[in-house]
Amino acid sequence: MPRHALTRRGLLRGGAALAGAGTLLGPAGIARAAGPLTVGFIYVGPKDDFGYNQAHAEGAAALKSIEGVTVVEEENVAETIDVQKSMESMINFDGASLLFPTSFGYFDPHILAMAPKYPDLRFQHCGGMWSADKHPTNVGSYFGYIGMGQYLNGIAAGHATRTKKLGFVAAKPIPQVLMNINSFLLGARAVDPSITCQVIFTGEWSLAVKEAEAANALADGGADVITCHVDSPKVVMETAAARDCYLCGYHANQSSLGPDRYLTGAEWNWATVYTRMVEQTLAREPIPNFVRGGLAEGFIKMSPLGPAVSDAARAQIETTQALIVKGGFAAIKGPLMDNTGRVIATEGQSFAETDVALESMDYLVEGVLGSTS
């Protein structure tokens, strides 16, 4: 293939020449004054989505006040060659040395392709997939046990519901999502064991039309408290509020979308996590490759309780939250069956939030109406 090689070389040579010209002609004012540390954030969706990406962007915003730290951000970056080149663009043009490509799908193969090429830089991925025997040491992963947040949402929902029917709009039947659905229902059943929760899977992380249809269908079916696990909860929250349902948030604070109807929400607290990681980097301390935490470690937080939350609900939420923070609290505990009659946990058996068995969850617990396939 010498002909292709020649074309390529010619192109690159031409590119280099143009680059030289570009530097000479480059307009003033677009060069970035970099501090000692430039941190790059990459989001898979818009950073004002009221959800997954906004939660990360709020974490990034918290870094901007740290002395000597420059934050660069890019939104709507697909999980394709796009993200690989976005990382490299941040490295080459902005001098980023600490990168947070935040979407789950960025890890394999994209971060894994870039990390060996830039061994002196640090790639931090949200999702918890790093393993010491398989992955480069300049890659780290972090994740939060947000299922407990959905459990507390469930308690708020259990007190607020009159129909004893809850609704859950979910993206895909994968372990993380199933954990949230199950936790939400179990939280509600800690209030009243007769409560059920209907789940509707939309099949996509971000598909506004189906999310609105699902929220409406849940309301039509009698659900009067609705929560979700999709990238952007905005549509679900607005639709549910318009149907006079109560709302439990997810990912970020959505109380502004229905101030009277919003009970509380399970939020990521990336500001504390990112601040800690950046401070470690500035102090030249290593960031651990594998970091996880829950409410106690400040990885997740609850939205302030809304006006529709009763005193009884508030008391139970606060007591349970204290138990979770103390440690050892388990939402998934026996006796428990899934909604097909299979035994999940026998009497006395329990799975704490840190239990690895939960990471391959493939069931919906008894009381959840819906199916994983």
Binding site: M1, H4, A5, R8, L11, L12, G15, A16, L18, A19, G22, L25, G26, P27, G29, I30, R32, P46, V72, E73, E74, E75, N76, V77, A78, E79, T80, I81, D82, K85, S86, E88, S89, M90, N92, F93, D94, F104, G105, D108, P109, G127, K172, P173, I174, P175, Q176, G203, E204, E359, S360, S373
Partner: protein, 369 residues
């Protein structure tokens, strides 16, 4: 008429007819180029209204898309799927068919290639890659070819059918990678089993540009030869100009429609194959990246000329390569690149009305009666 005499004067310097030949060809280059510049200028105005500097914007686009060796690598590494996707629009368009659902063929071609690759395992090497490519192409050919068949046999509008079938293709892909084809180890990102290293398509020499790019360029050249230099292509162009006339002439319109839609689909399927074999390493939801839709814009910009697709795809890939730097430096949202593409697209569509109307390009003006 003295002016005209003056203008046609240089005709005497060249062989008779040469200037007329140039004028005719120049129209096909100057009008799209002019429209491109007009679109960019209109977008510049839009930026200025927003209080952002158009000069800074275009300087950044140039720098991040074409200004450094890394920028070229960035641009060219995004080009391959766009070439294939644009061919899927351009080939049926020569018959007058507007097929906008190439995304579906890309996605399904990728899934079939990924599933076949996972089943093959190692041990096949280059033969395995060729098998995957053929399977992906066949899938794409069947998918878009079916749209051609619906059009020809049942009179179903191919534009609507292809667009809606793209949604069905994506749903089918989701069902397959989350169900029957799912690798049980892919917990939170349902995917087919990872391809064996022997089935991965590598990069060209020391670049990070995979072999999809030269294959894509070769496909564009082949498609050009087919359309412009074969009787089959000639028949297709006749049918594209006037179906009734083509039928009366006894041209096999049905076979042309099925053949060109299937060929376009095969190219789109190949885009999916390269995404899986060169970039993703397994088939999953990341296949839905919108290449099929960018391909529509490229094909229209290139006026459905397969050779022109090559530079236009590189230009559009450059815009996308620059979108990140523009976001970061000018604090513009990601949608900026989409708005830019929209401006250019409208300008190109408007420019369609200019063909044959500008006397500057009229061959008779340049010495041909």
């Amino acid at each position: 008429m003295t002016a005209e005499v003056g203008l046609s004067g240089p005709a005497g310097l060249a062989p008779p007819g040469a200037l007329a030949w140039v004028a005719r060809r120049a129209e096909a280059v100057c009008i799209p180029l002019g429209a491109l510049i007009a679109g960019l200028a209109a977008f510049g105005l839009f930026l200025a209204v927003l209080g952002k500097s158009p000069a800074d914007f275009y300087a950044l686009v140039y720098r991040a898309g074409f200004g450094t060796p890394f920028s070229w690598e960035n641009t060219l590494s995004r080009t391959a799927p766009l070439l294939f996707a644009a061919l899927c629009v351009a080939l049926p368009a020569r018959l007058g068919l507007v097929v906008i659902g190439g995304e579906g063929a890309i996605v399904l071609g990728g899934v079939v290639a990924g599933a076949l690759g996972a089943a093959l395992g190692g041990g096949f090497g280059i033969v395995g890659i060729v098998l995957m490519a053929l399977a992906g192409m066949l899938t794409g050919a069947l998918w878009i070819g079916a749209i051609g068949a619906l059009r020809h046999y049942r009179g179903v509008n191919e534009t609507i059918a292809s667009l809606l079938l793209a949604y069905i293709a994506i749903a089918l892909m989701n069902h397959l990678v989350e169900g029957p084809l799912r690798d049980p180890a892919s917990l939170n990102k349902p995917s087919t089993a990872p391809l064996d290293a022997a089935l991965r398509v590598g990069n060209i020499a020391e670049t990070e540009i995979h072999w999809g790019l030269p294959v894509g360029i070769a496909c564009c050249i082949l498609a050009w030869v087919l359309i412009e230099r074969t009787t089959w292509g000639f028949a297709a162009r006749i049918a594209g100009g006037n179906v009734r006339a083509a039928q009366i002439q006894g041209l096999p319109v049905g076979r042309l429609i099925l053949g060109l839609t299937a060929l376009g689909g095969a190219f789109a399927g190949l885009a999916g194959v390269f995404e899986v074999a060169a970039v993703l390493g397994s088939a999953n939801g990341s296949l839905v990246a919108g290449y099929g839709y960018t391909g529509i814009l490229i094909a229209f910009l290139a006026r459905h000329n397969p050779l022109a697709i090559i530079p236009v795809a590189i230009l559009l890939a450059g815009f996308e390569a620059a979108s990140g730097l523009v976001q970061r430096r000018m604090d513009l949202p990601d949608a900026t690149t989409l708005v830019l593409q929209g401006f250019v697209f409208i300008a190109i569509l408007l420019s369609e009305t200019l063909y044959g109307r500008l006397r500057l390009f009229a061959p008779e003006r340049w010495g041909r009666a």
